[in-house]
């Protein structure tokens, strides 16, 4: 049981870090670009919001499997096939939770408007300099919201993981899968313990996030 919890936390932490690194520049581009295909990319990023996790998992399974070029490349990098491995879970989680990070961060970037960026440019700051010294600090509430949502969403993920990770204890058996397993095998106590833990965790995450956001909004005005 402890194994499932620690594996879940490990997966969520790694996923969140990757999401912030990948999602922040993507959100910046979506907020600032004037390209005609921008909203198309935006829609692709938002797809996991409406797509059934099993559909996403099914395509990921094909995409990462040994018969696809991407899967073969991944095999060369990691030394094994991605499906039914921890690395495969990370890839799936990153794609599945992407909109939960990109959306709040993009909103935060858009809320800054162009004025502070123009001011910084007239004060000799280069575009990269402006991104790090003006845009990121001003978008901090959005970044925190994105990180928390991405983390929490990964913790609660089920369908995608079942499709591409299966149920290997210590490798791909995360919390939600473990609960399913205990219910299947009629171990109600253990299912209860994990479920109650998830319930409290989810409540705390949302509560703390709302409190932090409120305080930051106050500090910023």
């Amino acid at each position: 049981m402890g194994e499932a919890v620690s594996l879940t936390l490990k997966l969520a932490t790694i996923t969140t870090i990757i999401l912030l690194i990948v999602g922040t520049p993507l959100a910046w581009w979506l907020a600032r670009s004037k390209a005609w295909y921008k909203e198309m990319i935006g829609a692709v990023v938002a797809l996991p919001l409406v797509l059934p996790p099993t559909v996403l998992g099914f395509y990921l399974l094909l995409l990462l499997g040994p018969h696809s070029p991407i899967g073969q490349m991944a095999h060369m990098v990691f030394g094994h096939n991605l499906p039914f491995s921890f690395e495969g879970l990370v890839v799936g989680s990153v794609i599945y939770s992407l909109p939960f990070v990109v959306q709040p961060v993009r909103n935060a970037f858009e809320a800054i408007g162009t004025r502070p960026l123009e001011v910084a440019a007239t004060l000799r700051a280069s575009p990269l300099d402006i991104f790090f010294t003006i845009a990121l600090p001003l978008a901090r509430p959005g970044l925190i919201t994105g990180a928390v949502l991405g983390f929490a969403h990964t913790v609660g993920e089920f369908g995608v993981i079942l499709m591409i990770g299966g149920n290997i204890p210590g490798e791909t058996q995360v919390l939600s899968i473990a609960i399913y397993d205990y219910v299947e095998t009629m171990e109600w106590d253990k299912a209860h313990q994990l479920s109650a833990g998830m319930l409290i965790f989810s409540f705390l995450v949302i509560f703390i996030m709302m409190a932090v956001e409120k305080r930051m909004r106050k500090a910023n005005t």
């Binding site: 004025r115 502070p116 123009e118 001011v119 910084a120 440019a121 007239t122 004060l123 000799r124 700051a125 280069s126 575009p127 300099d129 010294t133 003006i134 600090p137 001003l138 901090r140 910023n220 005005t221």
Partner: protein, 369 residues
């Protein structure tokens, strides 16, 4: 004297912007015109914030835009003051001030600029705790600390209430006198121009209708300035005599000596003053004798024009020979017909009131809106 050359051609929603400008490299050049005439766009083109494909902009032999090249805003030695102060909320006042100074590697001293703009006591404060006027002063100081070759100001006072405006205007005055940075100042409020500007660029629907020294444009009949109800003449006078007993000072302008109420000033200092057209009367003989009016300098009528159905605008040049500064008088058509005034005629201009820059609140017009 080196010059700033600007030529911009840009398609806007309602009309096309076309501007071909020469701006002197010292003093305040005001860009004036009705709202939406393209003033701000013109200023943004100078800063490189808006990009027009056909344009030319150079300052002191440095070309920032021509057919081949376009220098990005952050590589131009500009200072830009926006309508709202736009201070960075995540930085303190001092960090805001140093943001541009660090990046421009400027030699402008923080102490000097904070003193000039009266900010020394505000440095440690959070930007959220500043008044509107204070915020805009910080924004001006922040721009100056980049050691700009040109300071661009986009309606810097229009978002402020009257009290904050009065608080900032003396600082702008001082800035122009203490620093030798050319300032391009966009505004739609003519009272600011009367107080600050040396040069004027008048725009309408994207086109530059006139550019030149303030005094000339104010009295230019082709522009709506001389026929507006608030028409006035503006002068920069040098103190040549002080009468301490009566608290008066004599200010010399080209063509006349004008006596004003001012009991604290120095000989040789320059003061700007304004004479409203409706405060000027005309007289054939020297009628200040036997009258409470002190100023009645000779002047020559240059041009006469109608200003509305019942008023006449009389444009004069000061001095018996008519070779001095321009002065506008607004008189009734009845007086005009009774006197049968003619162009070229010599008269005395009876000046009923003079508004002195900075010391006289009547210098600012009541706003029309």
């Amino acid at each position: 004297m080196s010059l700033i050359r600007a030529e911009f051609c840009l398609k806007l929603d309602q009309f096309d912007l076309y501007a071909d400008l020469t701006i002197p490299s010292s003093g305040i050049t005001a860009i004036f015109g009705p709202s939406g005439c393209g003033k701000t766009t013109l200023l943004r083109c100078m800063a490189g914030l808006d990009r027009c494909d056909e344009g030319y902009f150079s300052i002191n032999d440095t070309i920032w835009q021509d057919n081949k090249s376009f220098t990005l805003p952050h590589k131009r030695a500009i200072g830009y003051v926006f309508q709202e102060a736009s201070l960075f909320p995540h930085l303190s006042v001092k960090q805001n001030l140093l943001y541009g100074q660090k990046r421009s590697k400027s030699t402008m001293a923080l102490d000097e600029i904070t003193q000039l703009l009266g900010l020394t006591d505000l440095l440690k404060r959070s930007t959220a705790k500043l008044s509107g006027g204070e915020r805009q002063r910080v924004a001006i100081a922040r721009a100056l600390l980049c050691d700009p070759a040109i300071l661009l100001m986009d309606e810097p006072l229009s978002a402020l209430d009257r009290f904050s405006k009065e608080e900032i205007l003396p600082y702008l005055d001082k800035l122009q006198k203490d620093l030798s940075i050319p300032i391009v100042y966009v505004t739609h409020d003519f009272s600011e121009i009367e107080r600050l500007a040396n040069q004027l660029i008048y725009m309408e629907r994207g086109l530059v209708k006139a550019q030149g020294p303030l005094g000339e444009l104010i009295s230019n009949p082709a522009l709506p300035l001389s026929t507006s109800p608030q028409a006035a003449s503006v002068f920069d006078g040098k103190v040549v005599d002080i009468d301490a007993e009566y608290g008066l000072a004599t200010l010399r302008v080209k063509g006349a000596d004008i006596i004003v109420s001012k009991n604290y000033t120095e000989l040789g200092s320059i003061h700007r003053f304004k004479v409203a057209a409706k405060d000027v009367g005309l007289c054939r003989n020297r009628a200040t004798e036997g009258s409470s009016i002190i100023n009645g300098p000779p002047a020559r009528i240059i041009r006469i024009e109608q200003a509305g159905p019942f008023k006449m605008n009389i444009l004069m040049k000061l001095g018996a020979e008519g070779d001095g500064e321009p002065l506008i008088a607004r008189i009734t058509r009845k007086s005009f017909d009774t006197l049968a005034l003619k162009e070229g005629e010599q008269v005395h201009a009876l000046i009923k009131g003079v508004a002195l820059n900075g010391s006289d609140p009547s210098f600012t017009y009541p706003r029309e809106d």
